[in-house]
Symmetry: C2
Subunit: 340 residues, 2 copies
């Protein structure tokens, strides 16, 4: 699609056209160059939406919970977008919609935009176009963007770096398993939800989570984006610290939903009133720049078509005539020479 065509989408998108938005998202997903052009054009119009990441282990009932949160947010007259990232695989042949059928309850509502994105191939990460798509949803004047990962928790950190507020959803029994918790999902949470609270064991799971929060070095406060390299360091709890709530809910019985929405909005206010919102936005941008930079550099140095030396260097590596660090030196120098 030509730039002028992309340009013509923007005013419609800003004006709330779902069709223009859907078109722009498809372009951003399918073509990195279009993603770049779209982002350049809409960036000045972004920064209003509050991005809520929702993650947690498979089986915690995230999709149903997102649907209920959507319905509750609509009651409060907030315009929302739901972006579900599905880890597709060669085995499933695409995004699985699963129990997302219930989202249809929402999809008739003009104040709701729902989209599912396949994270094709990028196991362990969000779809590459996620940043761009979130920006498009933001520019299209959604008050809240619910960013949901489907399936195993491989994208926890990615989702946290892209969100203002991160919800970690567990289910009864899950929180009791040290193994599921030590995977590091707790330290990215701003709000912890024990879903399926109608099932036995919910209170016990909530208590375990609370205990773990208070045992942690941050005493229940989160240092967003700061993956601590020195776990020994005990962080001082400041007056500006956010107390991570542990909330029980049941999407099936529609209980506890309103409390979660309250907590999300309270967290948003907290970030704004303490000035932490600016810091989070800087971190979001930093990670976005990192992704763009890495993609660009890998394309530049490691695309065989672009770099006939690479195959030869790999041969030498396999023959153990050269070591990997020297290969990188070699690649960087060659490129430097070619330019200089």
């Amino acid at each position: 699609m030509s730039i002028s065509n992309i340009e013509s989408l923007i005013p419609k998108l800003l004006d709330g056209s779902k069709r223009a938005l859907a078109r722009a998202i498809t372009l951003a997903e399918n073509d990195p160059q279009s993603a770049r052009e779209l982002v350049e054009l809409i960036h000045p119009h972004t920064g209003k939406a509050h991005v809520v990441g929702i993650t947690g282990p498979p089986g915690a009932g995230k999709s149903s919970l997102v649907t209920e949160l959507g319905l509750e947010l609509r009651k409060r007259n907030l315009k929302i977008a739901i972006l579900a990232i599905d880890p597709s695989s060669p085995f499933t042949g695409g995004a699985i919609l699963g129990d997302r059928v219930r989202m249809r309850d929402l999809s008739g509502d003009s104040g709701v935009f729902i989209r599912s994105m396949a994270s094709r191939g990028s196991l362990g990460g969000l779809a590459k176009a996620t940043s761009a798509v979130v920006k498009l949803l933001d520019a299209a004047r959604h008050d809240l963007i619910l960013l949901e990962t489907v399936g195993a928790g491989q994208a926890e950190v990615d989702i946290a770096t892209q969100s203002h507020t991160t919800l970690v959803v567990e289910a009864p029994g899950m929180g009791d398993d040290v193994q599921s918790i030590k995977a590091g999902i707790l330290e990215i949470a701003d709000i912890l939800v024990v879903n399926k609270a109608d099932k036995p064991g919910a209170s016990r799971t909530a208590k375990s989570l609370e205990m773990m929060l208070h045992l942690g070095p941050t005493g229940g406060t989160r240092h967003h984006g700061v993956i601590m390299d020195t776990p020994e360091v005990v962080m001082e709890k400041s007056a500006d610290a956010w107390e991570i709530p542990v909330l029980k809910a049941s999407a099936a019985e529609q209980t506890g939903i309103s409390e979660i929405v309250d907590a999300i909005l309270a967290h948003q206010s907290h970030l704004e009133s303490t000035g932490q919102m600016v810091e989070r936005n800087r971190q979001k941008y930093r990670s976005e720049i990192e992704n763009i930079l890495v993609e660009r550099v890998l394309a530049q140095y490691l695309k065989s078509a672009d770099n006939p030396d690479l195959d030869q260097l790999l041969d030498k590596l396999v023959q153990r005539e050269i070591d990997p660090y020297s290969v990188v030196d070699n690649l960087l120098e060659k490129r430097q020479e070619a330019r200089g």
Copy 2:
């Protein structure tokens, strides 16, 4: 540590000194520059060990299974190293050893080297030093290196790119959950193990896994490292294809262990006889180069100390005066100018 001291470790390490090996690993873990020097020195001495990655969801009993596999491999007079990657977190304050206590059965054996590495901070990935440490274990003449990730399956692809043979361990009930499977763990498996086969439902889980393998586009063959971008493409099964076995085992009752070891060794022979070993090694090196390159480039462009412009650019981004793609252009150009 000075280079000459590092150099003095090498002959001892090659000679089988566990102390020299442990020392070298600690150096590689704690200091990237030492890792580089060690890798440069030992790279010519590597390439003999067969690297077996072991992954799977939390609760599948990976650690106990690894212990049993270790004991069985020792019966066959193979020298082995076990490297357990623990996703430490600020909450746990370091690597959790969990039921690793049982590994003590093995640790008295002179033909076994066991090491636990914290994947501090790099949630979603293996520890940065993993490649270097695997090379040290290889140079120290271990026949097999068992590379185990503890906890959630966030490091599946990482482990597959570092391994010659990848074992995916499930437990009864787990394989039946579409959500746990669609996370993409199946397409990295060379061998599937249903552990805890003494528990009810093991046969059903094994059948589900087999069905899923045969439903998949590759018809039960794995294309290592090829994360397919187009799930629609049905790969032709070649004569050189490896049939992924689904094996039932119980670490607790010590059943099925010998069969897993047979399958690992059969896979190793298969890779060698079909020439696929060379291709896997090339892919391993490619991903290692990628990691070194990304680390180098990120350090170069995104370390604030090294780049005072970054803070200013982030400010402009937050103010929406510039978009992220232009920031990357800007960073790359500035660096170019500074050099040229």
